[in-house]
């Protein structure tokens, strides 16, 4: 059950993405926030620092990102609705706890406002933590639902969705935004979704008058741990069946599709407009969930296309999932920029033209 909540008025308000995501979490019923300052995510923490106490909820600036995520783990174990946020290096410090929460089936929303890496890198926007988000951040066989907004309004909505998914499936869930999404200002209609509150039956609320509950990721007997893993894998299959989200634009007659998410999708949209003006039949396939990846939809689309162009703010990471989905049914090319640089629409048009020409050539392969 979801309630739409308008804060003060429904006239659009100019907000930074970081602020809008923070307020969306508050309106969704976030009970506790834990974080540690890092650019370009700082305004999110600042917003929570001011607003959470106003709402009588918990805000803690922890000793480090490691402390923040483990406080989040602890709070989540009590049934609290928890948000943690950081940017790339800080997210890396959370790998162990994310694996623990996946194993312990604890819901929590983690927002990564990505910056250029590796290492300290730069504070410019980036999408170079895609692999980390959807593949192998922590150890062990687990998956994390990953939502990737492409506008601030969508980010507001996906924050609520992230809490819904986290709680529906008892899983840590990630919202993957890049620095542009965090720093840019856009008009946001202040209508938020408020999520119903159901105290989960597994939460550690103090065992007064009932048997004690246990939340843990430890299963010392291999048979027991395998049973637990089968349960987790079944859950991940359900998520893959039910929670895939993507958006298509101008795909009906497209001969080339750009696959892009987040800020890259916004650039792609402008590039597609220009390419269409130049007579190229181009459309946009925009994954909204990065895991589960919209593989089936893309696999179904691929045979109708002359080629696919993947655009990322990275050296090429989602392109691997595109190739996996397409499985040779269409050539897949890539254009990316790194280090905090956003590709320009002009660059993407050029890449589209090269893709068009290559697709014309008979010998093109699938790599």
């Amino acid at each position: 059950m979801t309630t739409l909540t308008a804060r003060s008025s429904v006239r659009p308000v100019l907000m930074k993405g970081n602020e809008a995501m923070a307020e969306a979490a508050i309106q969704a019923g976030c009970d506790a926030y834990f974080g540690y300052p890092i650019t370009p995510q700082a305004e999110l923490l600042e917003w929570m620092a001011r607003r959470m106490p106003e709402e009588g909820r918990v805000f803690v600036q922890a000793e480090s990102e490691l402390a923040a995520i483990n406080m989040g783990l602890g709070a989540a174990a009590t049934g609290a609705r928890v948000l943690v946020s950081s940017s790339s290096p800080g997210i890396s410090l959370m790998a162990e706890a994310m694996s623990y929460m996946a194993g312990s089936e604890l819901p929590l929303v983690l927002i990564n406002v990505m910056r250029g890496g590796p290492g300290l890198g730069s504070i410019g926007p980036s999408q170079s933590d895609y692999f980390q988000a959807v593949k192998g951040h922590g150890h062990g066989d687990y998956r994390v639902p990953v939502l990737a907004p492409s506008s601030i309004a969508e980010a507001v909505d996906l924050v609520a969705s992230a809490f819904e998914i986290a709680e529906r499936y008892r899983t840590p869930t990630m919202l993957l935004a890049d620095g542009v999404m965090g720093q840019a200002m856009e008009p946001v209609v202040p209508v938020y979704r408020t999520l119903a509150r159901v105290t989960p039956g597994w939460a550690l609320t103090g065992a007064d008058g009932r048997p004690a509950r246990v939340v843990r990721s430890l299963h010392l007997l291999p048979e027991e741990l395998e049973r637990h893993n089968r349960h987790l894998q079944a859950k991940y299959s359900t998520i893959e069946e039910r929670e895939v989200r993507w958006a298509g634009e101008r795909l009906e007659d497209a001969e080339i599709a750009i696959v892009a998410y987040g800020t890259a999708a916004r650039v792609a949209r402008t590039a597609i407009d220009r390419a269409r003006e130049q007579g190229l039949a181009v459309g946009l396939f925009r994954p909204i969930t990065l895991w589960p990846f919209p593989s089936e939809a893309l696999a179904a689309l691929a045979p109708k296309l002359r080629a696919i162009l993947v655009v990322e703010l990275s050296a090429g990471q989602m392109v691997e999932d595109v190739r996996l989905a397409v499985a040779g049914r269409s050539p897949v090319l890539f254009h990316g920029r790194t280090g905090g640089i956003v590709p320009t629409p002009g660059e993407v048009v050029d890449a589209l033209r090269r893709t068009w020409d290559l697709a014309d050539a008979p010998q093109i392969g699938a790599t």
Copy 2:
């Protein structure tokens, strides 16, 4: 330049994998070891605790895995040959520092003796950190060479190779072993490779009488960081060209290939023997480098096969890289166990038989 060193005699000595890898690192000229105890990797740390001081070298049991890898980073920056080891949860704590070392181009060898996950999991053997090792452990666009031994003798050799690769390309390098590889005892011929020592020109050795050097992953200007990323990507391409290693067994006439590494490959070998006895033409494709993955060799092999069966001690991770490589040229099936359980040869024979039957069916797809 490599020197072969025989320790006391060349008669085989019975050693645990953890001990053999530790001694191999010492013989390879490891200057400093940093770690923190965790099962099933503990004997490696114990061996180093005893042997490194005997050799007048540095052993530190750090405050945590986080401290250990960062001490490793610092020591590597001085040009020291550094080994760090842990098991799954401890490796997760090292994600940030691995990204920093990749960005700073610091050589270091990290051994992961994998156990069942996610979270605390069990202390049984596992291969469920494959994704973490080859994809997205830390943030940012970087890659880490990953070597996967399938016998203790091979582990001894690959420890030296890992140092060679780390230093040749100035990159952190991983040796991915599972708990069986760490705990099992096998006869090891105590012949080790000793690596030549060349003080690297970039090492922070104190700037007496020369200009100061800088080792860093920070590049605040996006253009500069992109230039740095291009340099890294070019290096990764070179590694992909030159450092791929794999081994094939009985593939000449094989209609089905098992793809497996580490302990799974050993189980597969026994299963293949039995399947051959039952008339199934089965061979083994064993990746030794997991990144760079032997994609080209596998892509070339795929069209000759009726099907590929991937066997892992996981819920299915390397299978994704196999599918990426095969790109639809052959059906790819999977058999895995999780939670610290090793598949039996009998199970694998059954899986082979199912694969054989499925491959016979006309409608089989590539997923």
Copy 3:
């Protein structure tokens, strides 16, 4: 300005000392609590964990005692009324931050529910952190007001006094309780003092529309640091003049005075009753502030006495301050138990008798 607050009724309620101190802090207007569990202080943290969120205030179980006190420091810098509590080993971890707060002139109340030491020691009650509390916990020339309650009702009152002193003088202030004070249950009349709230002019509340403020303990120029130290010393002199508290019982005709605080004073009271029955004219001098120590009052009393007997749950610590005050004007003897053992009244009567006999002897010295 202080308001008396009755919670629900004024009939006595049976409470543990830890609980009563916690509630007293809440009623006094404590905005934020930071702590980490340790026996015998655990119920204080548990009470705060439950009650602070009920009041819409901040409760954080930090990563460690080190994190807790530094969070306290940060919160205090914003003008919040902050309580931190722990027991002996945890208090030791707070030495650096206490010195920083003294140097930065930040008010904060720290409760130490002492247990037997040194090291891990036992979880039994103790007074063996007297030296730490009143002398040299952290580095540098600073003093900390220390209040020592001897009943739960007094503890309730002194918690409010501790906040008053902390804020009046901008200084961290300590409430020193032993494990008996924390664990024992006594009827508490639920009347609490609520302290007026004045936002301090130095607090870091965000520099909107006013010049930025600075809170720091760093003064790099020695002249500046000395000026700062003179200011601190002048403040400590003022506290010594104005804030000394002690209580005397049956001292009018006493020939021997027991000097004791906290639980030791309660035992002494019973022993004095018994000794009086046996004809010994004995009274009790009970310091309530340990720093500033009631030296003048004791110095004035000493010449009238045949001897002083100091009773502590320690190997002898406050006895040093007694000797300093008495400066040879009366013999000072000592009786103490350690390790979590509370002296019995019988033991103290025996010690009184020995003191009486020694004082009769003409040769007795001042040590």
Copy 4:
């Protein structure tokens, strides 16, 4: 058994105090050093960083002062001869571990090169950690022998003495130096004492072929902990009997004695020369051990004096121990500077003259 060792020659070498103390520790047979950089102690760590590996011994720059002292604790438990050093704020972080080592009876030498406090303070020289060193750094009833050198040559000798005392009594031992002692350069005759090595019977060396040993500070039964405390107190009494050290200068005919240690004693010596020229009969009483404090010697001296002047680089800390020892037998006055400022000889002569005049007045008291 002690061996004198001359390094290369016996001609004086110009060394900083920090360097000389470091080399003295190495020559005394220090096996392991743990530290973290802080001014004005940095050269000590730097010297160890270079020299310990040359000697094939252990040097670790830890993650923090907390990690350093706990590594020291661990190494000491194996029977290693361990040095840890820091400056005031870093020493505060070591309070808990010092209490643990006292409780566990582990020998270790800790050097504090004091700087101005409280808090971050300044990096100028200071003696304001006297209380911390001799009274209440950590929790519980324990004492730490504290040696205070007044010249670099004496520091060299006292480093060896500190190891001797630490090992003879199984106790952490402190060497208390101020920033002047650490930073000043003086000619040092490179003759060092090398201490005999006896593997202690309690050391945790691996329980091969013998029953396991235990090193701990935990004694859960109060009776057992009290027995342990009695043992510790008996040991402290022995140290008080046997290890007191002090030096007197020109005390034979002195009517006023300056009591000062470390750098303050050096200033006092110059002031005494000048005061003697002006006809004042002044001498120097210089404690070398601060705990045990030379109370008996001072108590014996006091009645012969008109007054005592205590000079410290602090707001007045040792003066308390002087008053305790003197117990009213002589007036005790104080002159101190704080914040990194060293009193000048001129200031001290003025203070002496004021003392002289006050002592002439009939009404002077003992405070």
